[in-house]
C-alpha cells in the first residue's frame, strides 16, 4: 500500500483505458471516419422515391376514388357525413338560440351541481368572446371541440376499460398512446387529409387522435385503482362482470376518468387552433389572421377566447357528471330553471335579439397594438442584437457544422455510439436505424436544421428553467407566487405563444425559438421545483450535520438526488420545443416545420409522409435517449 512500484505508469494507463475505452473509441472513430469521409456529399437519398411514390399514388388514388370506392362510400364517407352532420347541428343549434341563452345555460348547468359562485366564471367565459366580436367563430370552435371531446370520450373510455381488464391489451396500447402524444400534431394532419379531404371533419379527427390518450390512460388507471374489496363485495353478491363494471368499477373510477376528460379537453384546445391548417376555420383562423396582421392586442384577446372555450367545456363536463346526488337541487328548482331558459329563448325571439350585439369593435385593441408597436420599435436594438447573436453565433455555425462539415457517416456513428453508451444495444440500433432511414428518404438536411433549432431552444429553456425551478423548489413563497402564472401559461394554446415572438422578432428561426422557450419553460420550471422539493429531508439534514454549506448541500445532495426527475422534465421540455419548432414553420422557421405546412397546404402526400417520418424519428430519438439518461441517473433500486 505504501510503496508505489516504479512501473505503475503503464498499468495505470491500461486501467484508465479499460475505464474510458468507450470515450477513446468515440474520439478515434470520429477522427478516422471524418478523415475517410471528409469529401462525402450530402446523405444519398437512396429511397426517396421508393418511399414517396407509393404514398403519393395511394393519396392520389384516394382522392380519385373518394366518391366511388367501397371503403369510402361505405365507411369513410358515412363516417365523415355523420361527423359533419353532428358539427353542423351543434353549431346551428348554438347559433339559433338567442345569444344570452348560452351564458345563462352554462351558468345554470354548472350552478345545478356546484352552486352559483363557481358557475360565474364559466358563464363569463361563455360571454367573453362575444364581447370582442367573435361570437360565431367561438361557436364554431366550441362545436368542433364538443364533438371532438365527445368522440374521444366515447372511444377512450371503452378502450380504457379494455386496457384495465386485459393487461395484454394495455401493454400493446401503451406504446401507441405514447407515440400519439410524443409526435407533434401536424404529423397527423396529412393522413387525415388523405382520408377525409379538407375541412372541419379531418380537423375533428386530428383533434380526437391527439386528445384521446389521457382519457384512455386515466380510465385504465381509475378502474385499476378501485379497491379490490369493493369489487369482491360486488362479486360476492352474484353480480355479473358487466354489473360490477357499471355499478361499482366505473362509478368509483369516475373522478379519475374526469381528470382524464379535463386533460383531453386541454389537449383538444391546443390542437383545435392548429387544425386551421386543415381548413377548420373558427378561432384558429382568427389567430392566424391576427398573426399575419401583426396585431398583438387582438391576438391575445383571441387567444383568451380559446381559453374561455376550454373553461366552459371543462366546467360543463364536470357539472354533467355528478357523483353526489344529495347536493342536487329539487325537481322544482330544476323546473324553474328550465322554464327560465325557455322564457329567455322566447324573449330573444320576440325582441329579435338572437345575434350577439357589437359591443367592442375592431378598434378596441388599437391602443394595445400601438403600445406594442412602440415598444417593439424602441426595443429593436435589443431584439436585433439578440436575433443576430442567435443566428450568427449559434444557429448558422451549428447547422453548417452538422450538415456540411461533419460527414454524415460520422454523425451516424457518433450518435449511434453514444446511444449505446447511454442505453445499450437496443437504443443504439434504434437511433442508428432511424437516422439512416431519415437520410435515405432525403430528409437529412432539413432534419438537422430542425434539430439545430431544437438544440438552441432547449439550451435556452434549460438555462432559464433550471435556476428558476431550483429557486422555486427551495422557496415555497416563490413557488406560490409563480403557481398561478404557470397555470395560466399552461392553458394557452401553443399557437398563441408565437404571436409575441413574431411581433418582436419578425420572421426567421428566432421567433420559433423564442416561442418554443416560452412554451417549454413552464413544465421545465414545474418539474425542477418538484424534483428539488421532493428530495428527502433526511438526506439534507445528514449533509448539514456534516457541516456542509448550503451551496455544498445544493450541489452535493439536492441536485444529484433530484437529477432523474429533472431529466424527466428536460425530456418534456425537449418534446414541447420540438412540437413548437414544427409549428413555427408557419412563421418562417423553415426546415421540417415549413415542409409540413406546405405539404398539407398542397396535398403533397409523399413529401408530407417523408417529413412526418423525419419528425417522428427526431421525436423518438430525443425521447428515448433522454429517458435513457434519466434512467441512468436514477439510483439503483433496492434488492428484493
Amino acid at each position: 500500500m505504501t510503496t508505489v512500484a516504479p512501473t505503475a505508469g503503464l498499468p495505470l494507463a491500461l486501467s484508465g483505458l479499460r475505464r474510458y475505452w468507450r470515450w477513446v473509441l468515440l474520439v478515434v472513430g470520429f477522427v478516422i471516419l471524418q478523415a475517410v469521409f471528409s469529401s462525402a456529399d450530402e446523405f444519398p437519398a437512396w429511397f426517396d422515391d421508393t418511399f414517396k411514390d407509393p404514398i403519393d399514388r395511394a393519396g392520389n388514388w384516394m382522392q380519385a376514388h373518394r366518391r366511388t370506392h367501397v371503403v369510402f362510400t361505405d365507411f369513410f364517407t358515412p363516417l365523415s357525413d355523420a361527423v359533419r352532420w353532428a358539427l353542423d347541428s351543434v353549431e346551428s343549434a348554438l347559433l339559433w338560440v338567442p345569444w344570452f341563452v348560452l351564458p345563462a345555460s352554462v351558468f345554470l348547468v354548472v350552478a345545478r351541481s356546484h352552486g352559483w359562485r363557481p358557475a360565474l366564471i364559466p358563464a363569463m367565459a361563455m360571454l367573453y368572446p362575444g364581447l370582442i366580436g367573435l361570437w360565431e367563430e367561438t361557436v364554431d370552435t366550441l362545436a368542433l371541440m364538443t364533438i371532438a371531446v365527445f368522440i374521444s370520450v366515447a372511444v377512450g373510455v371503452p378502450l380504457g376499460v379494455w386496457g384495465a381488464l386485459r393487461p395484454r391489451a394495455e401493454k400493446t396500447m401503451r406504446p401507441a398512446l405514447d407515440a400519439m402524444q410524443t409526435v407533434p400534431a401536424p404529423v397527423y394532419f396529412l393522413p387525415m387529409l388523405m382520408l377525409f379531404g379538407i375541412g372541419r371533419v379531418p380537423a375533428t379527427f386530428a383533434t380526437v387522435i391527439y386528445a384521446l390518450p389521457p382519457v384512455v390512460r386515466l380510465t385504465t388507471l381509475g378502474i385499476r385503482e378501485v379497491p379490490s374489496h369493493a369489487v369482491e363485495a360486488s362479486e360476492m353478491f352474484g353480480a355479473t362482470p358487466r354489473q360490477t363494471m357499471t355499478k361499482v368499477q366505473l362509478p368509483m373510477a369516475l373522478p379519475t376518468i374526469m381528470t382524464g376528460v379535463s386533460q383531453t379537453i386541454m389537449m383538444a384546445l391546443g390542437i383545435v387552433v392548429l387544425a386551421t391548417m386543415l381548413g377548420a376555420g373558427g378561432l384558429g383562423q382568427e389567430i392566424m389572421d391576427t398573426l399575419s396582421q401583426r396585431r398583438t392586442g387582438r391576438g391575445f384577446a383571441v387567444g383568451l377566447a380559446v381559453v374561455a372555450v376550454a373553461i366552459v367545456l371543462d366546467r360543463i363536463s364536470r357539472a354533467v357528471v355528478v357523483t353526489d346526488r344529495s347536493k342536487l337541487p329539487s325537481t322544482r328548482t330544476t323546473l324553474i330553471a328550465v322554464s327560465a331558459l325557455v322564457v329567455l329563448v322566447i324573449v330573444g325571439f320576440v325582441t329579435g335579439t338572437t345575434e350577439f350585439p357589437d359591443v367592442w369593435d375592431v378598434k378596441t385593441f388599437d391602443p394595445v397594438d400601438n403600445g406594442v408597436d412602440w415598444t417593439r420599435d424602441n426595443l429593436r436594438w435589443l431584439t436585433r442584437w439578440f436575433n443576430d447573436l442567435v443566428v450568427a453565433e449559434f444557429y448558422v455555425p451549428v447547422r453548417d457544422l452538422l450538415i456540411d462539415t461533419i460527414a454524415w457517416p460520422v454523425l451516424v456513428f457518433v450518435v449511434g455510439w453514444m446511444s449505446w453508451m447511454i442505453g445499450g444495444r437496443k437504443l443504439a440500433v434504434f437511433t442508428t436505424a432511424m437516422m439512416l432511414a431519415t437520410g435515405a428518404i432525403g430528409m437529412w438536411s432539413p432534419s438537422l436544421d430542425t434539430l439545430t433549432q431544437v438544440v438552441a431552444a432547449v439550451a435556452l429553456s434549460v438555462a432559464i428553467a433550471l435556476p428558476v425551478g431550483i429557486w422555486a423548489g427551495r422557496n415555497p413563497r416563490v413557488e406560490a407566487a409563480l403557481g398561478p402564472v404557470l397555470d395560466a401559461l399552461q392553458t394557452i394554446p401553443s399557437l398563441v405563444y408565437i404571436i409575441p415572438a413574431v411581433i418582436f422578432f419578425t420572421v426567421g428561426v428566432v421567433p420559433g425559438i423564442i416561442a418554443s422557450v416560452l412554451y417549454a419553460i413552464v413544465p421545465g420550471i414545474r418539474i425542477t421545483a418538484l424534483a428539488i422539493r421532493e428530495v428527502p429531508e433526511a438526506s439534507i439534514e445528514a449533509s448539514q450535520v456534516f457541516g456542509a454549506t448550503p451551496r455544498q448541500t445544493m450541489f452535493g445532495v439536492r441536485v444529484p438526488l433530484a437529477a432523474p426527475t429533472i431529466m424527466a422534465g428536460i425530456n418534456q421540455v425537449i418534446m414541447m420545443v420540438l412540437a413548437m419548432v414544427i409549428i413555427s414553420g408557419l412563421v418562417g422557421g423553415g426546415a421540417l416545420g415549413f415542409a409540413t405546412v406546405s405539404a398539407v397546404k398542397r396535398s403533397e402526400f409523399g413529401n408530407g409522409a417523408e417529413v412526418a417520418f423525419a419528425i417522428v424519428a427526431i421525436a423518438m430519438i430525443l425521447d428515448r435517449t433522454t429517458q435513457a439518461i434519466a434512467e441512468r441517473l436514477r439510483p439503483p433500486a433496492a434488492e428484493q
Binding site: P227, H229, A230, E232, A233, S234, E235, M236, F237, G238, A239, T240, Q243, K247, V248, P251, M252, L254, T323, D324, S326
Partner: protein, 349 residues
C-alpha cells in the same frame, strides 16, 4: 350459545363442507402441493419453487346454525381459505360443498345464483361503495337479484333498523364512523337473507369498545335468527366469544378444530397450547359446563346454560343461594355450586 353446541354438531347435517382444500399461489402449484404433502415447510417451498402454499389440505364441516371460527395469525391463510370457500378464489385442489353441491364444479352462472340467494360476506375493510348512499349499499344485493327499486328500498330500510342505522340511509358511507360503516357492511350482507355468512376479520379494524359492541350485536342477531357463519379472526377472545367451534390455523393448515373447552382442555399441539395458556377459564367455561345436573325447582336466580362464567359472576356474588341453570326453552337443567366456581377463579387451576 346456539343449538349446535347443546345438541352436538354431529347430530345436524353439514351445510358447508370442505375436503382436502389446497390453495397455492405461484407458477407451479402441483409441484408445490406434492412437496407440501411430503411435509416440506412453506418457507422451503417458497424459496425453491416460488410458490406460496396459502392453504394446505384443509377439511371441515359446518353445521346449520353453527358459528365456525377460523383463528390464526397474520399470513396463516385465513383470508385465502374463506375466499376459497366462497369461491372468490378457485382452489388448487379439493372440494367445497354447499348443501351437498360442489361449488367448484359450478358454472359462473350457477355460482352467481348461489351467491345471490345463499351466501354473503362481510369484509375486513368493509368493501363499501363510496358512490352509493348507505341505503343503496344495503340494497345492492337485492338490486343484483333484480328486485324493483321500491321493494328493495323498503327491505333495506328494515335491515337498517335491525343493524341500528335507522335514519342514516341517505348518508354516504364515508360520512359514518368505522363501527357504523361495518354495520352497513353487516346490513348489506344480511339484506339478502343468506343461508351462509362469511366474515373475514370484520371487526379487527375497529377500536376495542366498538369491537365489543359489534360482537354483542352479532350475538344478538344470531340469537334471533340462527345463520350458518364462517368467521375469521386473529383474536382468540373473539373466537371464544362468538364461536361454537374454533379451528386453529397455522401455516395454511388446521392444527386443531374443537370447542373452546376442548382446545383448552386438550391442546393438540404446542402451538395451540401457546394460544390457550393465557386465556382465563372463566371466559371459556359456560354455566352448562360447571353445573350439576338437577331437575325440578330451585328458589335462587337462574342463568342461561350458554352464558360464560365471567358473565354470571355478578349473579354469583350477589346471592348465597344455589343458582339455577336453564336451557334456551327456559326449563331447569342443573344448578351451580358456588364453591366449584370460586375454585376455578384461583390461579393455576
Amino acid at each position: 350459545m346456539s343449538t349446535a353446541q347443546t345438541i352436538g354438531v354431529d347430530a345436524l347435517p353439514a351445510v358447508l363442507a370442505g375436503v382436502g382444500v389446497y390453495k397455492v399461489f405461484g407458477p407451479k402449484p402441483h409441484r408445490a402441493m406434492e412437496m407440501a404433502a411430503e411435509g416440506i415447510s412453506r418457507e422451503e417451498i417458497l424459496r425453491t419453487t416460488g410458490n406460496t402454499v396459502a392453504v394446505c389440505d384443509v377439511s371441515f364441516e359446518v353445521a346449520r346454525g353453527e358459528t365456525f371460527v377460523v383463528m390464526g395469525l397474520s399470513g396463516s391463510g385465513k383470508s385465502t381459505l374463506v375466499r376459497c370457500i366462497a369461491r372468490l378464489l378457485d382452489v388448487t385442489r379439493g372440494q367445497v360443498t354447499l348443501n351437498g353441491d360442489d361449488l367448484m364444479a359450478m358454472s359462473e352462472k350457477e355460482l352467481r345464483d348461489v351467491r345471490r340467494r345463499n351466501m354473503s360476506m362481510v369484509f375486513q375493510h368493509f368493501g363499501l361503495f363510496p358512490h352509493r348512499t348507505v341505503i343503496d349499499n344495503v340494497a345492492y344485493g337485492l338490486e343484483i337479484q333484480g328486485l324493483a327499486r321500491d321493494i328493495r328500498r323498503e327491505r333495506a330500510r328494515e335491515i337498517l333498523d335491525v343493524v341500528g342505522l335507522g335514519g342514516w340511509g341517505d348518508h354516504y358511507p364515508q360520512q359514518l364512523s368505522g363501527g357504523m360503516q361495518q354495520r352497513v357492511g353487516l346490513g348489506r350482507a344480511l339484506a339478502i337473507e343468506p343461508e351462509v355468512l362469511f366474515f373475514d376479520e370484520p371487526f379487527s379494524a375497529l377500536d376495542p369498545l366498538i369491537r365489543r359492541d359489534m360482537q354483542n350485536e352479532l350475538l344478538r342477531l344470531q340469537a334471533e335468527t340462527q345463520r350458518t357463519i364462517v368467521f375469521i379472526t386473529h383474536d382468540f377472545d373473539e373466537a371464544i366469544k362468538l364461536g361454537d367451534r374454533i379451528a386453529i390455523m397455522k401455516d395454511g393448515a388446521f392444527d386443531q378444530v374443537g370447542t373452546a373447552l376442548e382446545l383448552l382442555a386438550n391442546p393438540a399441539t404446542p402451538y395451540v397450547r401457546e394460544f390457550t395458556e393465557d386465556v382465563s377459564r372463566t371466559k371459556v367455561l359456560r354455566a352448562g359446563n360447571v353445573m350439576k345436573p338437577h331437575e325440578g325447582e330451585t328458589v335462587g336466580p337462574t342463568v342461561g346454560a350458554d352464558r360464560s362464567i365471567d358473565a354470571i359472576l355478578s349473579v354469583l356474588l350477589e346471592t348465597t343461594d344455589e343458582i339455577g341453570v336453564v336451557d334456551p326453552s327456559g326449563s331447569l337443567v342443573g344448578v351451580i355450586d358456588r364453591g366449584a366456581v370460586i375454585s376455578l377463579l384461583e390461579p393455576g387451576s
